[in-house]
């Protein structure tokens, strides 16, 4: 964690750019910029700023955003809900499409089902998220008028509006992610279906359905869970493009605007949170492994 913190701090400070010049606007002169830099402590040497940052961090203080006029922790907290909801919905869509598609394609390797689904999966990986999102907006919102273009409503305040706002982003993001899951699930199924115990099961005269779902599927799950874990971690950092196109006030939008404006404390905060989320998700994935595969035991 310390390494992450330091690397991020140095990286963001080493790229050129000045938050103060952005805050003060295009007509500000050099003197005003200097004064404001002093006010924010940006005129201090980098090592001193880093030490101050460490000191604050030890107290659980991530600093204060230059632009948002509030502590970074508060800014993160405000944006956690939209990102988490989007992540869960997109993950749900991704798993719902990806896992069955992968199983069918794997179980019927070489069939038209396999080819069709894998072509779709290839498209899912290749099609850029923003292109898919904009086309969804054009079709379902502008042309058909079924769903709103963009925005966000909290599921705790207005569940119906929340669902309407979340459907398009979740599907476009989930479709992208489902492609990866489908491909992994397929290759694992193929791998497992070649094993001796599957031949044994078939030799025993078990129905194909039982062979696939009871014997093959569970064994193919471990790598799939890994990919789902990775997907979750990626989405926690904020699905940047989706959040911007669909105007969802989440962490992805926060970090992009923070990078563009060089809001250093916010960038550090989001990266730190993402790193922590990665660790937590890895831990969760390890726990799930043990549940799925009784052979995996942690001492």
């Amino acid at each position: 964690m310390l390494v992450v913190v330091t690397v991020v701090f140095l990286l963001i400070h080493l790229i050129p750019g000045d938050p103060v010049a952005v805050i003060l606007g295009p007509e500000a002169n050099a003197q005003q910029i200097e004064d404001a830099r002093r006010e924010l402590g940006l005129d201090r040497p980098l090592h001193e700023q880093l030490l101050r940052f460490y000191a604050r961090l030890l107290r659980g203080d991530l600093g204060r955003s230059y632009f948002l006029d509030r502590p970074v922790t508060q800014a993160l907290w405000e944006r956690a809900e939209p990102t988490l909801i989007l992540m869960l919905c997109a993950l749900f869509v991704a798993v719902l499409i990806g896992v069955p598609a992968g199983i069918v394609a794997g179980a019927y390797q070489g069939s038209w089902w396999d080819r069709g689904l894998m072509t779709l999966a290839l498209l899912g990986v290749c099609v850029p998220g923003f292109w898919l999102s904009l086309n969804f907006i054009y079709l379902f919102s502008v042309r058909l008028g079924w769903l709103p273009v963009a925005g966000y409503a909290s599921v705790f305040q207005d569940p119906v509006a929340a669902a309407r706002y979340m459907l398009l982003p979740a599907v476009s993001l989930g479709f992208n992610q489902s492609a990866l899951i489908a491909r992994i699930a397929r290759s694992c199924m193929i791998e497992v279906l070649r094993q001796d115990y599957i031949r044994t099961a078939r030799a025993k005269g078990l129905a194909e359905r039982s062979v696939i779902f009871l014997h093959a599927f569970r064994n193919a799950l471990v790598p799939v869970v890994t990919v789902i874990g990775i997907t979750m971690a990626i989405l926690i950092g904020g699905a940047v493009v989706t959040e911007i196109v669909f105007n969802i006030p989440g962490l992805g939008r926060l970090i992009i605007s923070a990078i563009l404006r060089r809001d250093y404390p916010v960038v550090q905060g989001v990266v730190l949170l993402t790193a922590a989320a990665y660790m937590l998700i890895n831990l969760m994935v390890d726990v799930v492994y043990a549940y799925i595969d009784p052979r995996i035991r942690y001492a």
């Binding site: 606007g25 050099a30 919102s141 273009v149 963009a150 966000y152």
Partner: protein
């Protein structure tokens, strides 16, 4: 019978004409109520208008705050919180401002001279225009509860206009807010006297303003940013929508009632959409390449003149405006056409010459050997990148070697303050309401124009009170500008905004949107 028919025809024609022009208020009474949703490109860096020149802050904050003066439709100062124009002493050194009585802040407190003195002093210490004026101000003091006096050190022509401009404005805050936030510190309590009251700022979600019921409108008719302001809507909801394509789609579906800063390429699409009215925002910016005159190649005046001589503006402007003739204008005046008092019509200026031979001759005279000229631009503002790219082609045809450096905006605004890092950069110049407010003519702004003649003329302009003499001086500044070429002026580019047709009463002639006197007819 024939007479009746003619009369009916005339009436019908008049009604149709009225409907088509749209500039005359509807015959129906203004409707009260409703929520107006405005999509803009992002979050303001602050709502402390003393603090920044950022346009987005100007647009939002001017709904909450007011100053002693405002600007009318011809960009002339008119009283806002002051009762009338100031009384100026015979020696021209004392300005006495009578304040309007019964003006309430959004916290319920009455505005008095102590608030005004505190606010002006804060503005004078922090704002670009305030600092400029305060170099000549000796003291601002409260005479009585409703009278403020400003003492200037020497005759100053820019007192009232400086107090009236909407950017980085001399907004009046309650004294308690001024006491709490020193000038170099962003205020985070936003209390003004304006027709809208801020109730909620949720970053990346919305900024919510509501009608301020205790607002006391002026009696004079609305004009420009001033005059009588009445708020018909209940709520003004500013929605940050960073993606330009999303803003356009939300206008089409009616999720937004109004959107600002739209991509010029969306113009045709918006024109074809039922229920949407595209609005061309004039003026917006004139495009400019600012030269580094402190260090490097462009300190050479001949080289700058060669740049100016080489450019063929029309194709550049047309391209930047997405091919729409309605979205740009060819003009050499340093003040926009809309800025009536200061627009010049000088003939024979070396602007838009597209004279390649002249440019080549000047390059030879400059002793230029094809050294790369570092020209900085950004893709964050597409128009900047477009005009830089087209300039590069034209300049290289004339013999320049241009090293186009494309960086993000935050990098550009940092680097442009360091004279070692560039030779020229792109930006846009907005409306400056007084000749002394053109930042690119001053030594403290990036590019560092420190020209003896320009400085002398600007100093004379700051002290001269007579408009005719000032205008003559301004014309001299313009001629000197085209001779010295501190920056290369391109054409005027307009902005694009759009409103749903149920939004009525919006003044389309304003450079920045204002939503007082606007109502929803749905």
């Amino acid at each position: 019978m024939r007479h009746v028919k003619t009369t009916w025809a005339a009436i019908t024609l008049a009604v149709v004409a009225l409907c088509l022009t749209g500039s005359v208020p509807d015959a129906t009474a203004q409707k009260k109520g409703g929520v107006l949703k405005v999509g803009n490109l992002g979050e303001p860096p602050t709502l402390d208008v003393h603090w920044t020149t950022a346009t987005i802050t100007e647009v939002l904050a001017n709904h909450i705050y007011e100053g002693l003066y405002s600007l009318d439709a011809k960009s002339q100062p008119i009283p806002m919180l002051a009762e009338g124009m100031p009384a100026v002493s015979k020696d021209g050194l004392t300005y006495t401002f009578k304040l309007r009585q019964g003006i309430k802040f959004h916290n319920g407190k009455e505005m008095t001279s102590t608030d005004v003195v505190a606010s002006l002093n804060r503005w004078g210490a922090q704002s670009t225009y305030g600092k400029n004026l305060y170099t000549r101000v000796a003291e601002v003091r409260a005479v009585d509860k409703y009278t403020v006096q400003m003492q200037v050190k020497e005759k100053t022509a820019t007192v009232v206009i400086s107090l009236a401009i909407p950017n980085n404005a001399a907004a009046i805050y309650p004294k308690e807010v001024v006491d709490k936030f020193k000038p170099a510190e962003k205020a985070t309590e936003w209390i003004g006297t304006g027709p809208f009251k801020l109730v909620e700022w949720k970053p990346d979600r919305h900024i919510k303003m509501v009608r301020f019921d205790e607002y006391l409108p002026r009696k004079e008719a609305a004009s420009g940013y001033g005059g009588r302001k009445v708020v018909h809507i209940n709520e003004l909801l500013w929605m940050p929508v960073p993606d330009a394509a999303t803003r356009v789609a939300q206008m089409e579906t009616g999720e937004l009632d109004f959107a600002d800063d739209l991509d010029l390429n969306a113009y045709d699409r918006l024109k074809k959409t039922a229920g949407v009215q595209p609005i061309v925002a004039k003026p917006y910016y004139w495009l400019v390449a600012v030269f580094n005159k402190k260090e490097g190649l462009m300190t050479n005046q001949k080289l700058r003149q060669a740049w100016q001589a080489a450019l063929d503006m029309e194709p550049i402007m047309k391209n930047v405006a997405g091919g729409h003739a309605e979205l740009y204008r060819m003009d050499s005046s340093l003040a926009f056409v809309e800025n009536t008092p200061w627009h010049t019509k000088l003939q024979g200026l070396p602007w838009n010459e597209h004279n390649r031979d002249k440019a080549k001759r000047l390059l030879r005279e400059a002793g230029y050997k094809g050294e790369p000229i570092r020209f900085m631009t950004t893709q964050e503002y597409k128009w900047m990148y477009d005009f830089a790219l087209l300039s590069k082609q034209q300049l290289e045809d004339a013999g320049f070697t241009i090293d186009l450096q494309v960086v993000d905006w935050a990098t550009l605004v940092k680097r442009r303050n360091n004279h070692k890092e560039y030779d020229a950069f792109t930006t846009g110049i907005g409306n400056a309401y007084d000749p002394t407010h053109h930042v690119y003519l001053t030594p403290n702004w990036p590019g560092w124009t420190d020209d003896e003649d320009i400085n002398r003329l600007l100093a004379e302009l700051a002290g001269e009170g007579d408009y005719k003499k000032r205008f003559a001086l301004w014309e001299q500044v313009t001629r000197t500008f085209y001779d010295k070429v501190p920056v290369a002026r391109y054409g005027d580019l307009f902005g694009l905004r759009a409103s749903r047709t149920h939004v009525k009463g919006f003044d389309t002639t304003l450079m920045r949107p204002r939503f007082h006197n606007v109502w929803l007819d749905k």
